[in-house]
Amino acid sequence: MRRLRISRSFRTRCLPVMLVTLIFAVTGCGEIKDINHRALPIVMGIAPGDEKEFRVALQIPLPGQQQYTVRTVSAEGETVSQAIQRVQTNVENHLDLLHLKLIIFHLDLIKDGINEELEYAIRSRQIAPKSYIAATESDIVKLLNSTKERVEQDGTTFYNFFSQTAGWTPDISNTQLWEAYRAVHSSSQDYMAAIVGIGDDEMLESRGSAVIAGGKMVDRLDSEEMLLVNIFNNKFQGAVIQVLEKASVMVIGAKVRNVVSIKSGVPKLHSKLTLTVSIEETKGEPSPGEIRHQLNEEMEGRFMMILNRMKKHEADLFHIGQHFRRILTPDEMKKWRSEYYPQLEASIEVETLIRNTGDLIDQ
């Protein structure tokens, strides 16, 4: 009996071609939507709804022949995804969150906790983890509507507000989604969200930052305090500090060294912050030594004040717990916020180097 055999040339030539052709059949490329059939919102606002749990508002640029127009669409739902689904039904194009740059949470929502919303944002696999998060006290629909005109002129306005390559300054917190999501599961890293409101002349107005620990807002920092936290976390780009009433200095370098230890269950931290500054402006004739001394004292004072407040709220804004990971076991680290952090004995030493005095001070 002769066996039916597939010829060699068929196996080596036709079969691979057939198999590759089959790949195209299983891709489901029919579901792919062209770029101009997608609505790509740039800003999403999430707030508690009037009738249902959530109100989600999306600011969507809609393409036109010459200039795009910006539309704010909002809907309510029991969950965020349901609300987004409702928005989808009202929008003629396919709603795609891939290009979302900013998520604004209403403060009322943050006070109740936003961990579930963050989990949703990551799990949806549509929202980029590098999009920024912010908070607001204003009505989100109003906020998005009021900024419409500015966004129509430049679609990246919101993004620029938080972008380090554009209009961001160190007294605004620019937390990204992944950092917030990290805090949901981390025992030693908490974060802040910038609080923005409708500006009078400007598009947005910065109103400090919300400190979020365990998914809930626990405190509020003003922009001066925010600046210190950012400098301590190595985000000092263009930071200008006022030294009493005598001078203002620009931070051009900040280096933190932390020495940690645990003695009889009490965590101890000694930080040394080395600031390199250049003098921008003086009043009267302060000596460099005077400015240095004043700056050191002031920074030390502010740091201790903020740290003590944070200890009370069990919010580890400075990520101090990270330094104890090499001493504490993973199980002990889980109790970091509740057991170790409130007992933390911290001391800080600030050293200032004045790199450039200009002609403002006679040496």
């Binding site: 590759v20 790949i23 195209f24 891709t27 490329c29 792919i32 939507k33 062209d34 770029i35 101009n36 997608r38 790509l40 740039i42 640029p61 393409p63 036109g64 022949q65 010459q66 200039q67 795009y68 795609d96 891939l98 290009h99 740059k101 980029a128 430049d154 679609g155 990246t156 993004y159």
Partner: protein, 524 residues
């Protein structure tokens, strides 16, 4: 019984076919059809062979005492010089000068004795004994003289067909460096090469392609540099042309290439003599064909298609930068349309927001999906390019004007294509023009389309798959037994001096040439 009875005739037929085919193959050289002593027999044979050609000339001569001896010269009027009469005179003069003394006393015996014993003659003459060879010589544009009473013929080189003068290279122009390019005359071309390679190590071997054309094909190489095994393989393959008609160098390329269906060219093609010489110095074999100006450099490796002769005439930094520019151009020409399709249909998150909004506006109102838009515009572009190549030059400019309007402004205002797409197609076109070797640019044109399809079906992932296939193919491809991607894969660091960067000429020229023997071992 039946088997037996049918078997014998079959084997006989096979034998017959076998002998017949050997006869046809070797008819030019081996088969004997001796020239007769009777002039009339010879002329009769030749007249029969050349019957029907109006440009064949039989010119009868009488010579000797009282003009009693006859001779006949045969030649193609269309191939030889006008002063053909001189050859009979030259023949006799040669005799007069050296043997017979003044006067008209030459006899066939004198002629016979003189030429059979290699007497010094004014023009180079060769003695032919065979009628078939005689026919060959006439076909090759030589002048033949046959004498009554001598069973041999004289053949003079008298070919004179107008050929193009050596001129500037049209297809491979450079800013710096020699402008000369090859012409359609094989001997002239070989001479141009010899002029640049003044060494006895530069060998030129000649073979004649078969069929009706009897084209002379020459291949040259430098003895110490060329890889011996590669040369053997090359000789083995080029032997195939013995019974094939060859009209152009690219015939040889197609006959000896390893992979017929590969989109990638496996041999380099040039019309610049400096490039051919540089190639041979690197161990390539140069193939030239009578009647065409193209020189084939075998084998052509992938990285060599990015090299231009000007790379070596400019300073290192310049040529390295230009090399990089070409690599980028290669990538753009290969991928830009598919990247655009993938980004706009699958990965809009990768487009910066400002650009995205611009793309959104640009694509608004375009009826076709990105893929079909790209396909349409690429099709327009290829159409225009093909039309431009084939058209006579005065009409060519009309195509470019109409094309610029169709692909450019009109397509946008009519709402068929978006401005971004026009930029993409135009950039792709410009990038493909900046690759020095025309034939690899064609392979890019082919590969662009499967890439576009995969990008339209599976986005970046699909492009990745397509790239993997291309890469697999490239890795598998051999040319004359050498890996096509060498020296990138297999990686030979010492040879990378002329791939991504062009090292200073001082270093490049100092590298030992016989290094080549140890590299590129043919893979079995």
């Amino acid at each position: 019984m039946t088997n037996n009875s049918t078997g014998t005739p079959q084997s006989e037929t096979n034998k017959a076919i076998g002998t017949m085919s050997t006869e046809t193959v070797s008819s030019g050289q081996n088969t004997q059809l001796p020239i007769s002593e009777q002039l009339s027999d010879n002329i009769e044979y030749l007249e029969k062979t050349f019957a029907g050609s109006s440009d064949i000339v039989f010119k009868h001569w009488n010579y000797g005492p009282e003009l009693q001896y006859t001779a006949c010269s045969v030649y193609y009027e269309s191939l030889v010089q006008e002063d053909t009469e001189n050859y009979m005179k030259i023949t006799l003069q040669d005799l007069v000068m050296h043997e017979v003394g003044p006067g008209m006393e030459a006899t066939p015996q004198d002629i016979r004795g003189f030429f059979e014993h290699d007497g010094v003659s004014g023009k180079k003459a060769s003695v032919i004994t065979d009628l078939l060879q005689l026919v060959d010589h006439i076909s090759n544009g030589r002048l033949i003289i046959v004498f009554e009473g001598w069973n041999k013929g004289l053949s003079y080189k008298a070919q004179s067909v107008e050929t193009r003068q050596v001129s500037e290279s049209v297809n491979e122009s450079v800013v710096q460096g020699p402008r000369e390019s090859t012409v359609e005359n094989l001997q002239k071309n070989l001479g141009l090469l010899r002029l640049r390679l003044k060494t006895p190590k530069f060998k030129i071997e000649m073979i004649t392609a078969g069929g009706e054309t009897k084209t002379a094909v020459a291949y040259g190489y430098i003895e110490d540099v060329v890889d011996k095994e590669m040369l053997a393989e090359f000789k083995n393959r080029i032997a195939q042309i013995a019974d094939l008609e060859v009209l152009e160098t690219s015939y040889i390329e197609q006959i000896i290439e390893d992979s017929t269906y590969s989109p990638f060219p496996q041999h380099r093609y040039t019309e610049r003599t400096d490039m051919a010489v540089a190639g041979m110095l690197e161990g390539k074999i140069a193939v030239l064909v009578q009647g065409t100006g193209g020189i084939l450099l075998c084998p052509g490796l992938f990285t060599e298609f990015f090299q231009s002769s000007e790379d070596y005439y400019q300073r290192t930094v310049n040529s390295t930068l230009i090399r990089w520019l070409r690599i980028v151009a290669f990538l753009i020409a290969l991928t830009l349309p598919s990247v655009y399709i993938a980004l706009s249909t699958f990965h809009p998150e990768l487009i910066p927001t400002v650009l995205l909004l611009a793309v959104l506006n640009a694509r608004e109102g375009i009826p076709l999906p990105a893929f079909f838009e790209a396909l349409l515009m690429e099709f327009f572009f290829e159409l225009m390019r093909e039309a431009g190549v084939r058209l006579p030059r005065p009409v060519g400019s009309a195509v470019s004007i109409v094309g610029a309007l169709v692909i450019g402004d009109a397509a946008i205002s009519a709402g068929i294509a978006s401005p971004i797409m026009v930029i993409v197609v135009a950039l792709t076109g410009i990038a493909s023009f900046s690759i020095p070797q025309y034939n690899i640019a064609i392979s890019l044109r082919i590969l662009r389309f499967p890439l576009m399809i995969s990008a339209a079906v599976m986005g970046g992932f699909g492009m990745m798959i397509c790239f993997l296939f291309i890469l697999l193919h490239l890795c598998k491809l051999r040319t004359l037994g050498q890996p096509y991607l060498a020296p990138l894969a297999p990686l030979r660091l010492s040879e990378l001096r002329d791939v991504l960067i062009r090292v200073p000429l001082k270093t490049l020229l100092r590298s030992p040439r016989d290094l080549h023997k140890h590299k590129h071992k043919p893979v079995k």
